[in-house]
């Protein structure tokens, strides 16, 4: 499949690399030219520098023929807007959006977006670890 990834930070760059290793075609968008360094010199896909809210940038990265779209910039609202543009304007079949704020993530999940919320994951995992510690302590005590 062909995937467009927006935001080439820790998350976006690693997702892009993983997809390439699995044999997929990937193009990456980031507003900073330096973000290209995270991809490394051997990255086979295209890197487009620009603001993803601009349709010319999305189209330069090939969104019109994308099977999947990943919104992973460090701005929740930017991610939510470009994800909806990918879904509703370019009819991309699979759209995944990173949202740090759990409340907004839940709201847009209800509206049909596939959201990934690292904060929610951290809350759940920490609570789970503490509960299991409390549980084993109670048994021991």
């Amino acid at each position: 499949m062909f995937v467009v990834v927006v935001g080439c930070g820790r998350v976006g760059a690693q997702v892009a690399h993983g997809l390439v290793e699995d044999g997929h075609d990937v193009n990456v968008i980031d507003q900073n030219a330096e973000a290209l360094q995270r991809l490394g010199g051997d990255f086979p896909g295209q890197f487009v520098q620009g603001v993803a809210l601009e349709t010319t940038v999305l189209e330069a990265a090939g969104i019109e023929r994308a099977d999947a779209f990943v919104a992973a910039t460090n701005g929740d609202n930017t991610n939510l807007v470009i994800a909806q543009i990918a879904r509703d304007r370019y009819l991309v079949e699979c759209v995944i959006v990173r949202v740090l704020d759990p409340a907004r993530a839940a709201f847009y999940e209800d509206k049909g977006l596939v959201t990934v919320c690292p904060t929610r994951t951290a809350i759940d995992r920490m609570s789970q670890a503490l509960r299991s510690f409390a549980g084993s302590n109670a048994e021991a005590g």
Partner: protein, 219 residues
């Protein structure tokens, strides 16, 4: 009426002042601490500190009982999200959103955040009105209502020249509301007779441009 204004810059603060003068209830949400301090000095408890794209901040500002949400931050993506959350999460009936970059207008339209106001577009319309480069100018759009206000100049030798409005065969879906002559505007009446150089202001459904050009601006 209760209005929640998100974004307390010049636009938000002035809209807030105007609504208060009209006797309405207002809250202004501002995320920049320095700007918030200035707002609080003037608006006291009506100024609220926080990121207006966070649901709990809007909740605390009383978005749940707002009659209108006015999203006027300097970021278009924020204004879109504020509009969607106000409408779909809080059930606010009326949304007004600011478009900072006119290239983002299509995103507001696509994602259902309307009506919108764009200063750049408004200035361009005014320039067109003052210094017309085209004989037909879009003065104002009511996108959600699917109406626009158009100005078109009457050209000498056109079908409209010399006709009274009563006799004028306007395209269906368009109506003359005013005629500007020598920079003075008058509300149109059936016996207004059109002369060359008159600026006709019409309210119209979209897509009537060529019919209006054909009537007023073709010799």
């Amino acid at each position: 009426m209760y209005a929640v204004i998100v974004g307390g810059g010049k636009v938000g603060a002035n809209v807030g002042r105007a609504l208060l003068r009209m006797g309405h209830e207002v809250s202004i949400v501002e995320a920049r601490s320095h700007r918030f301090a200035t707002l609080e000095a003037e608006f006291e408890h009506m100024a609220r500190y926080g990121d207006g794209t966070e649901i709990f901040v809007l909740e605390a500002a009383g978005m749940g009982r707002a009659d209108v949400c006015i999203a006027v931050t300097g970021d278009d993506e924020d204004n879109i999200i504020i509009g969607q959350v106000a409408r779909d999460h809080f059930g606010v009936a009326n949304i007004v959103a600011r478009v900072n970059d006119p290239r983002n207008q299509e995103h507001f339209d696509l994602l259902g955040v309307a009506p919108t106001v764009c200063a750049t577009e408004a200035i361009l319309s005014l320039i067109e009105h003052e210094v017309p480069q085209h004989s037909l100018v879009h003065l104002f759009s009511l996108r959600r209502e699917n109406l626009e206000i158009i100005e078109v100049q009457v050209v000498e030798g056109s079908r409209a020249e010399g006709q009274s409005l009563a006799d004028l065969q306007m395209p269906s879906g368009a109506m003359v509301i005013s005629v500007l002559r020598n920079r003075v505007g008058r509300v149109a009446t059936p016996d207004t007779v059109l002369g060359p150089g008159d600026q006709v202001v019409a309210i119209s459904e979209p897509g009537q441009e060529s019919a209006l050009m054909e009537l007023f601006a073709s010799e």
